[in-house]
Amino acid sequence: MSKFERETHVINGVKTVLYTAGHGEPVVFFHGAGTVDGFDFAEAWTNKYRVIAPYHPGFGESGDDPSYTHLNDYVMHYLELFDALKIDKVNLVGLSMGGQLAALFASQHSHRVKKLALICPAGLIDPQNPMIDVLAVPGEQLVPMLVSNFDVLKKKLPEKPDLDFIGERYRESATFARLFWEHPGDPKFMRYLHRLKMPTMIVWGDEDKLIPVQQTETWRKFVPNADIKVYKGAGHLVHLEKPEAVEAITNFLG
């Protein structure tokens, strides 16, 4: 994270750490339900944009707030963070659960989102092409499922996970469970996706083992104008496996 600077904000009592670099229009990246993949890839955008990559409460370097029990709590959190950063309109990029959060934010506050890019976003209830229940898969089995080429992820993982690493992953899974244990799918999320009228791009890896690439067709029904790009030979973390996916988002942002 050479280029990025670390900032700490306190948003509604919750310590919120973000990494930021670059100047220009803001691009905010929402990470997924784990943080081992990091933010390095987002450096590509710092030449033209003010990139802001926050850790969600309950993840990575940010603090905990057990009262966050629904993604809407995170929507409110980011409204307040954007206010604190004096950001009116943002370009939002979200990965997996962060993609669902970005889409939820954009469906509720469409006037504050200029462009929306979703990387293998979670959130659809798609009985023909269901997302796996990540809470039911042991962590050590889940990690290799994130990518097609494990070497890409391997360098971001410790050789032998120590107790701190294990504890941190457990903490993130606990945060995720608070949001999704009882209700992995929220039908109301899909009900308002038609409000995504801003320019929207969706990128996906065709070998995604968490959320089947066939969900792109379902997204197309909800968001007919979305520019959908599928990358061959890539898994769920398509942005790590295919630099051209990141480049496509760069071009989309303009």
């Binding site: 809470l135 107790l163 294990i166 457990y170 995720f176 469970a177 244990w181």
Partner: protein, 388 residues
């Protein structure tokens, strides 16, 4: 309660007919296929187990302890109150201890009513304990492990309010809303049956027991851990103004008595080994669903699991847990020693383990009642003085 020694018989009612290929499964909990449950065999086992517990009452044991687990061969007591209700008319004197149903898996008013019914049915012989439930239960029941501890606290508050305040009352909480909390019947014992918290000694459960002045039934903890836990609980309870009695520290023990030491070990160890290796076999994922433990507790347990990966070693396990196996004299001495060391007069004895056949359990129950209990009771004043 007087300071007399108290002996419980705790039963798990395991389903013992494991298929030959059961080792192919990493866990006999949560996901172990229920096609392997044969209800005809289950019927036979229930008959055996119930007769063992009825015998315990006749032999003069002070209490019978049943408990709740789900999706597992480890226990056929998914609903322990049903077992308790079955035992009540067949027993005379023994306390009936439902230790117990995790309140998170029931509506709190429903559990308050169920226990009140058992208390009235038994004319006040009921004792209850409130477990959070093992991690495994949260994979088997649709309850969020990450909010379980909060919900547990709120449930307890509702149950105690239901028992101690004249209804109707109201409760407006985070997890439950009661506009008319007014359960019928009310418990036979006033203000309510004796209560315990069940746990493995997490700071959160200790604090609940300390605050309410409840006993603490620790399960599956080492001798060292139990000693620390009891001391912590004693001090924490005092900080809430609660002075706990010795009988509020039930000590979970595994007991087997036979004519000679050699015979006792020969008759017992195989079953005990299968208890550890097969009936208690589960996975780290099932033990700690997300948010069930604090991150600190998770790390402590992960460190411990790393240390304990060796195979079954009876001698080592005997040294670290409370296991008394041998002649009546040896078992009596062992329990007497623990009574002093742990400052308790309350022994929660597991006397049937894993696939132990009926005759061994009957023999164990009988020898302990006729040969061990009299030895200990005759010395009880001496233990009491030492404990004090």
């Amino acid at each position: 309660m007087s300071a007399a020694l108290r002996f419980n018989v705790m039963h798990f009612m395991p389903y013992v007919h494991l298929p030959e290929n059961h080792k192919d499964y990493k866990s006999t909990w949560v996901s172990f296929p229920n096609k392997y449950y044969d209800p005809h065999k289950g019927y036979e086992l229930y008959q055996q187990y119930l007769s063992q517990l009825v015998l315990a009452d006749k032999l003069g044991y002070d209490a019978i302890v049943v408990n709740e687990h789900h999706n597992t061969v480890y226990s056929m007591m998914a609903c322990p109150s049903i077992i308790a209700a079955t035992l009540i008319p067949q027993t005379q004197n023994a306390k009936i201890c439902v230790w117990g149903t995790p309140p998170n898996f029931m509506l709190p008013n429903r559990l308050a009513e169920e226990y009140a019914m058992l208390d009235v049915l038994s004319k006040g012989r009921l004792e209850v304990a409130f477990p959070l439930g093992t991690g495994m239960e949260y994979w088997s029941n649709p309850v969020n492990p990450a909010t379980a501890r909060d919900k547990f606290r709120e449930s307890l508050k509702i149950i105690l309010q239901a028992w101690t305040e004249d209804g109707p009352t109201t409760h407006y909480g985070e997890h439950y809303t009661y506009r008319f909390l007014n359960p019928w019947p009310r418990p036979f014992q006033r203000p309510h049956p004796p209560c315990y918290i069940v746990g493995t000694g997490s700071p959160e459960t200790i604090d609940i027991a300390a605050e309410y002045g409840f006993g603490y039934a620790s399960v599956f903890v080492t001798q060292q851990r139990a000693a620390e836990l009891n001391e912590t609980l004693r001090q924490r309870a005092q900080s809430f103004g609660n002075n706990l009695r010795p009988d509020q520290f039930p000590l979970q023990t595994w007991v087997y008595v036979a004519e000679t030491q050699e015979q006792a070990e020969r008759e017992f160890i195989g079953h005990f080994q299968r208890f550890f290796e097969d009936f208690a076999r589960t996975s780290p994922q099932y033990l700690a669903p997300p948010g069930y433990l604090s991150v600190d507790q998770l790390k402590q347990r992960a460190a411990l699991a790393d240390k304990m990966h060796g195979g079954f070693d009876f001698e080592a396990i005997s040294k670290s847990f409370f296991i008394a196996v041998g002649t009546p004299e040896k078992v009596a001495n062992q329990i007497g020693e623990w009574s002093v060391k742990m400052k308790t007069n309350h022994f929660n004895n597991v006397m049937h383990v894993a696939d132990m056949p009926h005759w061994k359990c009957v023999k164990n129950l009988t020898l302990f009642a006729e040969e061990v209990m009299p030895r200990l009771r005759s010395r009880s004043s001496q233990y009491r003085m030492a404990a004090e």
